[in-house]
């Protein structure tokens, strides 16, 4: 009679008779809002199946923020694990008025016994849940847990197997060809290990000839692990046996080797692994795969609490390597020395966090002849698009012939921009100032930048026009110095990031400072005496805070695939009190910086 839907797992694992038993055996219970259904430590007396309502699972030992570990709604089942464990580890609390079916303990256990598949379902669930919770709880967040839960098979490399008769000379060749540190020696069904150190010892210490057999120097007592073991176990046994590698055995056959460096690489948020993948990429496809791992890498780094500035630097370096490689794959050798590929804008400053648009340009050495250049550049733009760098909406790309020119033509352009001082020209100058050579002959850019500094750094009129951009957007602070709180959020890019970046860029032009990253420029400006150290630090911190707030929104929209989330808009009301204070302080720093620039470049009028 009871209106209970038993067509879902785990009940679908029962036959009609079993389902009828469930139907006959269940009771109904009604819980008011915030009523505790099953408290932590309480004996599990029944399995709850929610008919209507919502139930939260709370971990009482966790801090206030992450108490809620589970959420159940209509059709979900909870309490089974409490029965299997004896007592409930967590508190189940009704979030809304809830109506639940109760399957009594005795009946549940009977059914579990009668239907092994039903039983398995819950035991499996238990294991999965434990894994999930371990991930959540592990110190250092997600990434740490991922490492802890990684299996040996995810990190092992193929073994290099040789015969015992192989000579040392051959072994060395094999090691070099395989980029490996160790060899496995098979001899009469047993396996031994020969490492580079062993070979050195044999050659230098024992004075063996190159033609000696490796069978004589191999160690036949191996430290082994299983492919399904946790990577952590491998690390532990390495530590325990004081070795740098373990052999992965399946039965009595070696299937792989785990090197200590690999484990540590895996551990260090796999930054190393990604860069290795980029370096090893032999074609565009391999590069695309490596490039696709970058967002995840950044997420991991942020979860580990790596300072944003360093994460950005790392990412800029990796992006640089990717573009560099793409350029090398596509362009013939002789063209590479004749030209210089520039990245500009935020990428040039090394400040983009997730992948940004491709802002790039090309300088050609004077006198070089490259008739098919347009087609090549078109191809480069398309390839970068495939690598995950969307085209620039302002069309500042090498596929646009305006941004491909010879050295002397570039000089002419810069001179024209500097004298005309109209908004477009000023923007182009700003873009050019942030340019960073990424592939080809970097000397071409250095020459051009020298020219730019020579033209611009003493031109007070140009500097004043240039600096005026800082005042374009108002700082989102009220008259009384508190944060403005519009409902749609404040624009952190216009109100915070842009004034700092542009102001620092202006000062860099004035003081002829070559580095392009805002942080590096700030350091250089302090050394130059243009800014005092505390204020430069404040600006740097403010910049980092803005970027971090922005990154967080970007990651969020990446995770939820919610494109409606405007990454530059920070809704003040959603920040914690502490973050709000930080943001307010940072915006005050921006305001002060604007005032200093106004005085220096006479922007008041």
């Amino acid at each position: 009679m009871v209106d209970i839907n038993l067509s879902q797992p785990p009940f679908s694992l029962l036959d009609d008779k079993g389902r009828q038993r469930v139907r006959d055996g269940v009771d109904l219970a009604y819980f008011t809002e915030s009523e505790i259904i099953l408290d932590a430590g309480q004996r599990g007396e029944c399995v709850f199946l929610i008919h209507k309502g919502e139930v939260a699972e709370l971990d009482l030992n966790a801090s206030e923020g992450d108490r809620r570990i589970g959420h159940y709604t209509a059709g979900d089942l909870f309490g089974a694990i409490s029965i299997l464990n004896g007592t409930s580890r967590y508190r189940f609390q009704a979030e809304q008025e809830s109506l639940c079916y109760l399957l009594p303990r005795a009946l549940f256990e009977d059914i579990c016994q009668a239907y092994p598949a039903f039983d398995d379902y819950f035991r499996q669930h238990l294991a999965e849940k434990a894994r999930y919770l371990l991930e959540r709880r592990a110190e250092g967040g997600l990434s740490m847990a991922r490492f802890m839960l990684a299996r040996v098979s995810e990190c092992m490399r193929d073994p290099l197997l040789v015969e015992a008769r192989t000579t040392i000379a051959e072994a060395v060749t094999q090691l070099r060809d395989g980029h490996a540190d160790s060899l496995l020696v098979g001899h009469a069904g047993r396996y031994g290990m020969v490492t580079k150190t062993d070979l050195l010892d044999a050659l230098v210490q024992q004075g063996l000839p190159h033609s000696a057999e490796v069978g004589g120097i191999a160690h036949f007592t191996l430290v082994t692990v299983h492919a399904d073991d946790y990577l952590f176990t491998a690390l532990v046994s390495m530590t325990r046996h004081e070795v740098a590698r373990v052999v992965v055995m399946e039965g009595d056959r070696p299937v792989g080797v785990v090197e200590l460096t690999d484990v540590l690489g895996y551990f260090s948020s796999r930054a190393h692994a990604v860069s290795l993948q980029i370096e090893q990429a032999e074609d565009i496809e391999a590069l695309t795969r490596a490039s696709a791992r970058l967002p995840q890498l950044i997420q991991t780094l942020m979860a580990q609490g790596v300072k944003l500035r360093f994460a950005m630097e790392l990412l800029a370096a990796l992006n640089g390597r990717i573009i560099h490689k793409a350029f090398r794959f596509l362009m013939p050798e002789e063209r590479q020395s004749q030209s210089c590929l520039l990245v500009m804008g935020s990428e040039g400053r090394g400040e983009q966090i997730l992948k940004t648009d491709q802002d790039n340009a090309l300088i050609l050495a004077d006198g070089s002849d490259w008739p098919e250049i347009e087609a090549s550049m078109q191809k480069l733009t398309e390839t970068l698009g495939a690598l995950g760098y969307p085209p620039c909406p302002g069309n500042i790309m090498v596929s646009n012939p305006q941004w491909v020119a010879s050295e002397s033509a570039w000089r002419g352009k810069i001179a024209r921009w500097a004298s005309s001082r109209d908004p477009d020209a000023l923007m182009n100058l700003a873009i050019m100032l942030d340019a960073h050579a990424i592939a080809g002959n970097a000397g071409l850019l250095d020459g051009l930048r020298e020219h730019l500094f020579a033209r611009g750094s003493h031109d007070e009129l140009l500097l004043s026009y240039f600096a005026r951009g800082v005042l374009r957007y108002s700082t989102p602070l009220t008259l009384f110095g508190t944060l403005k709180r519009p409902e749609h959020g404040i624009d952190i890019k216009k109100g915070g990031i842009f004034p700092i970046v542009h102001g620092v860029r202006t000062l860099a032009l004035e003081r002829r400072i070559a580095p392009t990253s805002t942080f590096a420029r700030l350091d250089a400006l302090v050394d130059d005496g243009r800014l005092d150290r505390p204020f430069a630090d404040d600006l740097g911190e403010a910049m980092a805070l803005f970027s971090e707030l922005r990154l967080r929104q970007q990651l969020e929209s990446l995770e939820t695939h919610d494109t409606s989330l405007e990454p530059n808009r920070v809704v003040v009301q959603r920040l914690s009190g502490f973050e709000r204070d930080l943001l307010r302080e940072a915006l005050h720093t921006v305001k002060e910086f604007k005032q200093r620039l106004s005085q220096r470049f006479h922007l008041e009028y």
């Binding site: 009679m1 209106d3 055996g25 219970a29 009604y30 809002e33 008919h51």
Partner: protein, 205 residues
């Protein structure tokens, strides 16, 4: 008043018999939600088609301990009532004899209080068939969810006449209708409404 007198009379008459304990006041915490399907809406003419009862204990509806009785086809079974409860003549083949069913019911409910939606009607129909056989009416205390609900609503909104229809009540109380016009379904729904009303009072108090 008449009911009370009648009950006192019943009690005196039964004082020596094996039904005497039914007249003792109930001391436990269980109640029985009861619902009948009948052939007519007039208790003076209605015959029983199905009776269902379900225990409620400690805030739980014990559907595993429920009673669902189908009776033999009464003569008055008409197409009008079949349209409502969906029990056709053939569905009642193999149903229980009325006397046996009433005995089972009596044993099931004991002296526990009875809860129902317009419980007076169900009790009246049962009594009409019970009295000739055993010589007494159901002595159990009755709780009408309709009245509980009306009282609560009037307290909350004195100006609005509460809607006491079964579906309207269950919707207002946020209780799912389990299987309308099946005796056990209505009994379970009633039991849920009762729990909801009890909890509501506890929460607002």
């Amino acid at each position: 008043m008449i009911k009370a007198l009648r009950r006192a009379g019943d009690r005196r008459r039964q004082s020596g018999g094996h039904h005497a304990w039914r007249f003792e006041p109930y001391a436990g915490s269980e109640v029985i939600a009861l619902d009948c399907e009948t052939t007519d809406l007039d208790p003076r003419q209605a015959d029983l088609v199905a009776i269902a009862a379900v225990k409620v204990r400690d805030g739980r509806v014990l559907t595993s301990e429920s009673l669902d009785l189908r009776l033999q086809r009464p003569d008055s079974l008409s197409s009008d009532s079949i349209r409502i409860h969906g029990l056709r003549g053939v569905d009642l083949l193999g149903g229980e004899a009325l006397g046996d069913a009433l005995n089972t019911l009596l044993d099931f409910i004991g002296n526990r209080p009875l809860v129902g939606w317009c419980i007076d009607y169900d009790v009246a129909v049962i009594n009409r068939h019970l009295r000739p056989r055993t010589g007494f009416d159901l002595p159990n205390r009755t709780i009408d969810v309709c009245r509980l609900y009306a009282r609560e609503r009037r307290r909350a909104q004195p100006d609005v006449e509460p809607d006491l229809r079964f579906e309207a009540m269950s919707e207002a109380l946020g209780v799912p209708v389990m299987g309308r016009h099946t005796a056990l379904g209505d009994a379970v729904t009633t039991a849920l409404m009762y729990l909801r009303l009890c909890r509501g009072q506890a929460a607002s108090a």
